[in-house]
């Protein structure tokens, strides 16, 4: 092991910023991060052991105790539950003879749940040693179990198990473009950098991750030195371009498809942005769940280097730029731009205090522009076709198109591109959804809309979305959805601030209490009060939106929540009888006197 780690550190130039990459390699080889490895790495990278330990404990895909040689994770996103996740993971557990969350006694295999893996259009999905597996059925599970028990190496498993479809159902403005390599870069330099930035501003392009900040402004601020935007002078200072491909919002998978089939344009967009702000280094932060894409993307980057689209003096324009792929390791919070930057620096993904904003002080405290995959794709095409081409579509405040990931109860789940301003009803008609109860727009952090609101529009000024669009029909129970989402946020809270760390767990418990039928009169009020507290006081977007599933459904279906309540004025938050279990076990008693009723009759 010593030699392996020594070599690994050397390959990564002993850079602490490469910590996640190094740990991924150690986890893959030893199925955990041994204590000895932490000690050795602390020395080699010259960082405290506590930083490494923190990173290991922070990210879901690192472990301090060994996982199985085959570590199987099953996505527990709501769309997975809708295709029978619970039954299928239990089937898996039974067939593999391993308890969920545990490692089998022989150390060969481990099984657990994981947050949405970005395959909601081909559920039930999961990961085997980090590689995506899709459309799991009992038959496919049987095949996997056989492979595991035969200890067949992963590269000898049927490729079909790892098949990931694009499912592009409705391409529009962006998805119909197939520009040639270098077209965007050449157009940018032909027009001029400042002029291209003006085109991006004219296009009205806003961030496609969901928050919707005007892209041109972000780039402008990032290229400024103390308020002065000087494209010649800025090249003195190191700046960074980062592509946020940490698509973790449950129900979103469009970036997966954009990177699989439009990567050249995305990289082109990053290169154009880099030229404009004066960055020489770019990163693409790819969520760990998309490991299956990394080799292909490396190949494309290499091809671009070979074609002088990356590297020194790109296409003879006198500008240097390169892109490095950094893989995440299972943390939803890293989609938040400052948490993402922390992660790029080899640390736990904890959102920073703002100000300063990343455009002023980002990666290694240098100006950094973090933009969504789709934003770069749009920018590359805007560089070619100009701002007006893009701004012609959409609404007054939301220009252009939005790529949606549609899943759930519909005939054709997949990728749909719509001009902003399209109504929910149009989208539902297109994807073949009927008998619809409601739609979760923008994922758990977004809004649940009821079937009385289908004339509302996809737009920043109405229903903003990073791309997640989950359809529920009338056979679904809203409280099951809320239950799933509440557990998701409690699991993904980074734990930095009190309202989110404690609040999301309290919220999970409060929702559980009501869903399980233990709620009483005051519990809805308590629930709403808690939601407001988390929303108003949390440090970052995760906490500020974590209560949305409850708040948006409570607003629409108060009677549903009320119907779950017991008709008594007070129900304790804990199970009195259950809490005596330890005492009963120790006293070897189970008679009537060793039990207590929850409330007096």
């Amino acid at each position: 092991m010593k030699q392996f780690i020594e070599q690994l550190a050397q390959e990564n130039d002993f850079k602490p910023t490469r910590l996640l990459k190094i740990l991924r390699a150690i986890q893959a080889r030893y199925f955990y991060i041994p204590a000895g490895a932490i000690e050795q790495l602390a020395d080699l990278l010259n960082i405290p052991r506590t930083q490494i330990r923190n990173v290991v404990e922070f990210y879901s895909f690192f472990h301090l105790t060994p996982r199985g040689q085959y570590d199987i994770l099953i996505s527990s996103s709501i769309t997975d539950l809708m295709v029978g996740q619970e039954e299928l993971i239990n089937y898996f557990s039974e067939k593999l003879d391993v308890t969920i969350g545990e490692v089998r006694a022989d150390g060969i295999v481990s099984l657990n749940n994981t947050s949405c893996t970005g395959m909601c259009d081909q559920s039930l999905a999961g990961l085997v040693n980090g590689y995506a597996i899709t459309k799991l059925t009992k038959a496919r599970i049987d095949e996997i179990v056989e492979n595991v028990n035969k200890q067949l190496p992963l590269d000898q498993w049927s490729r079909d198990l790892f098949d990931v479809q694009d499912n592009i159902i409705k391409p529009d403005l962006l998805l119909n473009q197939k520009p040639t390599q270098g077209e965007g870069i050449n157009a940018t330099f032909a027009r001029g950098l400042m002029e291209t930035l003006n085109e991006v501003e004219k296009s009205g392009l806003r961030g496609r991750g969901g928050a919707g900040y005007t892209t041109a402004w972000k780039w402008k601020f990032c290229s400024e030195d103390e308020g002065v935007c000087d494209i010649e002078a800025q090249h003195q200072k190191q700046r960074y371009i980062v592509c946020n491909a940490d698509e973790g919002e449950p129900g979103t998978f469009k970036d997966r498809v954009l990177l699989n089939s439009y990567a050249d344009s995305v990289f082109e967009g990053m290169t154009v942005a880099a030229a404009i702000i004066g960055a020489t280094q770019g990163f693409i932060y790819l969520r760990g769940e998309y490991l299956h894409l990394s080799e292909k993307l490396e190949g494309i980057l290499q091809a671009r280097r070979n074609a002088n689209l990356l590297g020194k003096n790109i296409l003879q324009h006198g500008f240097d730029f390169d892109i490095e792929i950094c893989l995440g390791a299972g943390a939803y919070i890293c989609g938040e731009e400052s948490a993402l930057i922390e992660s790029l620096e080899g640390k736990a993904g904890i959102p920073r205090n703002r100000p300063p904003y990343p455009v002023v002080s980002g990666y290694l405290n240098k100006p950094t522009s973090v933009n969504n995959v789709e934003t770069f794709l749009a920018a590359a095409n805007i560089a070619i076709h100009g701002g007006e081409w893009f701004a012609n579509l959409g609404t007054a405040k939301s220009k252009g198109t939005k790529v949606l990931s549609i899943s759930g109860d519909c005939a054709k789940a997949g990728i749909y591109e719509y001009a902003f301003g399209t109504t929910i009803q149009t989208i539902l008609n297109d994807c073949g959804a009927s008998d619809v109860l409601g739609v979760q727009v923008g994922g758990p952090s977004g809004t649940f809309i009821s079937n009385e609101e289908f004339e509302r529009k996809i737009a920043f000024e109405d229903l903003a979305t990073g791309g997640s669009f989950i359809v529920f029909n009338n056979s679904r129970n809203i409280l099951d959805i809320v239950h799933n989402f509440s557990h998701f946020f409690a699991h993904e809270s980074c734990g930095f601030c009190t309202p989110c760390r404690v609040g999301t767990s309290l919220l999970k418990k409060q929702v559980d209490k009501i869903v399980e039928g233990h709620g009483s009169a005051g519990d809805i009020v308590a629930l709403e009060e808690l939601c407001q507290l988390i929303k108003n006081y949390s440090h970052c977007g995760l906490g500020q939106t974590a209560a949305n599933p409850v708040l948006t459904t409570l607003e629409r279906y108060p009677e549903l929540y009320q119907s779950m309540l017991k008709k008594i004025s007070y129900e304790p938050g804990f199970d009195l009888d259950k809490s005596l279990e330890t005492a009963r076990r120790m006293a070897h008693r189970d008679d009537a006197h060793a039990h207590l009723a929850q409330v007096e009759d």
Binding site: A35, E39, P48, R49, T50, Q51, R53, N54, E57, F58, Y59, A331, A348, N353, P355, A490, H491, E492, S493, C494, G495, F496, C497, T498, P499, R501, V502, G503, T504, S505, L506, K509, E529, L533, N536, Y537, S538, H539, G573, F574
Partner: protein
Amino acid sequence: MSKTIVIDGKVIPFEDGQTIIQAATAAGVYIPHLCHNPKFTPHGSCKLCTVKVNGRNCSACTFPASEGQNITNISEELNDDREKITQMLFVEGNHFCPSCEKTGNCNLQAVAYHLGMTDNHFPHFFENREVDASHPDVMIDHNRCIFCTLCVRASQQEDGKNVFAISGRGLEKRLIVNSESGLLKDSDLDVNDCAAHICPTGAILIKRTGYKVPIGQRIFDHAHIDTVALAVEGVNHDE
């Protein structure tokens, strides 16, 4: 003329680079806080110091003061919510004031009194947390840690060491010690280190000193935390 901000109607001067809490403390205005200490880089995690800046919630310990800010620090809404955030800290850990040797000297307890907290409101988590009594002079009772990172920052910024860190995610968060065994005795913490004395709760305690000062004669037995904080931190700030 110096630049000013307004807190609860009171005009307060500030210098460029000051945070809201720094300007407030210098002017004798107390904003409740737990993870903040003017000696160290602000952290912004406890969220008790949340104030409304032109109607928007901001952490006073990290948010820069700037001209034109109209700030609400005292209101029923803010007080109620600060109380609930404090209650969250109480139910997350295992805080039993009457049996804790830090009682009367504890900022968490004193802030709770200041906010008028009379119960824990939320259901208790009852987490099993450990005690590290391995060090000859200092002990860690993880039951009382609120992850404010004051010990982490004090060790780095005042003691020039790196004894503590916060590790893990979400509710799994915990204080860890920088030693191969993970135990305090194997770290380079000394009883005279600032980090050993900075804990705002009873999570890091100096052994054999717990009851040297009897209950009734402790810091907060005769003074409220706002007065104490302003006296101590106002002085530090002016240095």
